[in-house]
Amino acid sequence: MSPTTYLADSAQAVLTAILAAGQRVVAPVEQAGLLAFAHVEQAEQAQLIGQTRASAKELAFPRTQRLFGYRFGNPGVELLPGEEPPAPTVLFGVRPCDAAGLAILDGVFGAEPADAPYLARRARITVVGLSCDQPQAHCACTAVGLSPTATDGSDLLLTPLAEGVLVEVLTARGAALVDLLGEALRPGAADKAEVTARAEAAMAPRALPAGLADGLAAAFGEAAWADAAARCLGCGTCAFVCPTCHCFDVVDESNLRGGQRLRVWDACQFGLFTLHASGHNPRADQAARYRQRALHKFSYYPRAHGRPMCVGCGRCVNACPAGMDIFEVAATAAAGQG
């Protein structure tokens, strides 16, 4: 059975209805010359054109999250609860690439043994996707098997058409949200194929070579990684703007009275990431670290899950201080092998 569909006047109108239904909404807004996901109270605050600088993952996987707290007693230690997840939230205007990123994170954090702090936040998020009609130069969703109108990870997907906006109901959570929206949505169907085709045609041609996962694995020992990584300065920008990167560190912050254990974002490009206490580092140089990033996304993960751990948003390419392009490096390394 195909998903239930509705029509609405515009994405803005759907947002207005969601806010009118009393929902807490996080949507792209313009802040300091960049688009960021932030809490909105009026539909006009949302900026529904363009790509946010950071991905949508932060709502489910925050930069810093308290896992639990503790208070030193005399004697003993008293454990205190972790963070209270934010109120149920509609994450509105999420591009299909970002929504697909959440779907990948759901798989990672949901796999047994599941990650309770992530799931607690994620269970309170309804994702309203918004098809992408203005791809940017760094966009590459079609290269990883997605499209500007892909439905992965969205509970509802809005696709702007000439005659209004098509609303696809993709999950029970999406249907529950639709139930609150009343007359803003009217039953109806439309074909989004033309929109998809137009957006795809506007994208720069980017493709990943066939057999990349195996090609990269075979290229593990190649000297090419050192050349490719020469530019990389080892910051965490690529990982932190990425919708699917999920590596984290766990740290304590404390004083004499107590403290808390926090989960904070971490990145495989940092030298300390894999450093053993003994001083040994399995990924001792930037070449090994860059290789890990490329292989995790395009070899290790796809071999286990049948798809790249990349949604083609291109943020890492756009934001890299040194102009690294993971698609280019991966393709070159795999091709250079043998």
Binding site: F68, F72, D266, A277, H296, Y300
Partner: protein, 278 residues
């Protein structure tokens, strides 16, 4: 019962034993008696040990599942958390979460001759499976133990090694690197691979458990191969930095294998098939 993934159980430090100048063993008991009864693990599994205020460290569980009522860990002083764990004394409270990871395939080891080789602090995971096997002694063939260290002062589980040596149903040898012997040393002198070759255990129907620093593993594997052991017969453990234990934090992988979930126990054959990045 704990519901959150990362929240540790509170444990009481029941006993503190110094194995060497920088290796200490802590015996931990559950503050929650219900947990003490229900807690179960298998030899080779690891856990996270919390020093509240400083963080968590990962070590294998050094006690055997047959030693009930407590868990033990042995750790070497290396950094912030191990320093803090060393500041604990008997009666203090610390955190523990686990067990995680796979375990030594004890069921596959049944009916085989066994060779246990531990180098330095690598003897800790070996001890867990070794004691487990000794407690089920009749199920196994010949048992050979080789406990090696850089120097006599660095040899862990010294008293237990002497107790194993005294047993008639096992062959137990301790060794130190050349130059590491001190006055009164009554064990072998020589690098583990060399002593191993002198002991010459038969590869026939034998399983080897091998843990220690990377360089020792590397040369021991060469010796074992020379003696006719196949990669499937040699079981070892890998360690990597890790923060979660549940395959999420993304730092312990070697290629597509996560040490926390797919390991820490691997056969030498499995390790040979991984990218050489550890």
């Amino acid at each position: 019962m704990r519901t959150e993934t990362y929240e540790p159980h509170l444990m009481t430090v029941a006993q503190v034993r110094d194995e060497t100048a920088d290796v200490r063993t802590l015996r931990l008991t559950f503050t929650d008696p219900a947990l003490a009864d229900s807690f179960a693990y298998r030899a080779g599994q690891f856990a996270f040990y919390s020093a509240f205020g400083e963080g968590e460290s990962v070590f294998c569980i050094a006690s055997s599942p047959t030693e009930t009522g407590y868990v033990e860990c042995s750790f070497k002083l290396t950094g912030k958390v191990t320093s803090a764990l060393r500041r604990l004394s008997e009666g203090d409270v610390m955190g523990f979460r686990g067990p995680y990871g796979n375990s030594f395939p004890i069921d596959e080891m049944v009916g085989h001759n066994l060779v246990f080789i531990g180098g330095g602090i690598g003897m800790a995971p070996v001890r867990s499976i070794l004691v487990n096997c000794l407690d089920r002694r009749s199920e196994f063939g010949d048992i050979t133990i080789l406990n090696g260290a850089r120097s006599a002062a660095d040899l862990v589980y010294r008293d237990q090694t002497d107790a194993w040596t005294a047993r008639s149903d096992v062959r137990c040898v301790k060794t130190v690197d050349p130059g590491g012997d001190s006055e009164g040393w009554d064990g072998e002198v020589g690098l583990i691979p060399h002593v191993l070759e002198r002991l010459a255990p038969t590869p026939h129907n034998t399983k080897v458990v091998l843990c220690g620093p990377p360089i020792m593993i590397k040369f021991s594997l060469i010796s074992l191969e020379k003696m006719g052991f196949s990669g499937e017969q040699v079981i070892t453990t890998l360690e990597n930095r890790m923060k979660c234990g549940v395959g999420k934090c993304g730092r312990c992988n070697i290629g597509g294998a996560y040490v926390c979930c797919d390991g820490p126990v691997f056969t030498a054959a499995q390790i040979a098939a991984l990218p050489q990045e550890f």
